[in-house]
């Protein structure tokens, strides 16, 4: 009798463990939270003169990195886009590279 109970208890426990394991598995898929670099560092004005600020958002090809990849917020992406386009005009930043 007591054995039987114990067995059921254990099997129940196993099931729950499995469930937990699955949940744990899903949790390990946790994607790094994307945060806007400019919001975090509280940069209000993105200047076209600072190539150092713009450079991380210009991949090898010279295109402007989309915000779905960089995680920049809409407001700052707009400002960033203007800054990069201005920097391109005065050859601080490339239009394209081949």
């Amino acid at each position: 009798m007591s054995d039987f109970d114990g067995g059921r208890g254990r099997s129940g426990g196993k099931d729950r463990d499995k469930e937990m394991g699955e949940k744990g598995g899903r949790r390990t898929f946790f994607r790094r939270r994307r945060v806007c670099k400019f919001c975090v560092e509280k940069i209000d004005y993105i200047s076209y003169k600072d190539v150092k600020v713009l450079a991380p958002f210009i991949p090898e090809r010279g295109k402007i990195q989309p915000r779905r990849i960089s995680g920049v917020c809409a407001t700052h992406q707009r400002a960033l886009q203007n800054a990069i386009k201005r920097a391109r005009q005065i050859a601080l930043v490339p239009y394209t590279t081949d």
Binding site: G13, R16, D17, M20, G21, K23, G24, R27, K42, D44, Y45, Y48, K49, R86, R88, Q89, I90, A91, L92, V93, P94, Y95
Partner: protein
């Protein structure tokens, strides 16, 4: 009188341009600005820089930045003049007062909001150094705690 606005003028000259020629160029810009009763706030010479792409078969150029106050008609005149000059291979005039002002506003608003929130909670308006340190530690703890209960609960059963 027309309203005065702030502009940034950047122009590029060939790398072999002499100091005299640069001075001459600056004088010409100054003349145009004066004619429109504007003023030059400051002048920065960035020196020779590598270009991101070739302009007129040049790989380098001397950059000069001028921060100018003046009316909009002045920029049109500057633009016209600079386009004609052979010593300027590229130029750009950008209005900056609005962007800078809005950035300043955002900064002050953020500061005020923080001060308001903090005084409501009975704290001094500015966070102290020890507080900042504690906050950093707490946020670290929180990340750890997020996983903790789950794993602990699973292990006990």
């Amino acid at each position: 009188m027309s309203t005065s606005r702030q502009y940034e003028l950047v122009y590029l000259t060939p790398p072999d341009t002499s100091e005299d020629a640069l001075g001459e160029l600056h004088k010409q810009v100054q003349a145009v600005v004066d004619r429109f009763s504007g003023s030059i706030d400051r002048t920065e010479n960035w020196g020779r820089r590598k270009l991101a792409y070739e302009i007129n078969h040049q790989r380098e150029a001397t950059y000069v930045l001028e921060v100018i106050n003046g009316p909009g008609a002045m920029t049109a005149e500057l633009d016209r003049r600079l386009r004609v000059l052979d010593t300027v291979i590229r130029h750009m005039i950008v209005r900056v007062d609005e962007d800078l002002a809005s950035a300043e506003r955002a900064k002050t608003r953020r500061k005020e909001d923080m001060a308001k929130r903090r005084t409501r909670r009975g704290l001094p308006p500015e966070p102290t150094e020890s507080e900042l340190h504690r906050r950093r530690e707490e946020s670290d703890d929180f990340d750890g705690m997020g996983d903790g209960p789950y794993r602990g609960g699973g292990g006990d059963r």
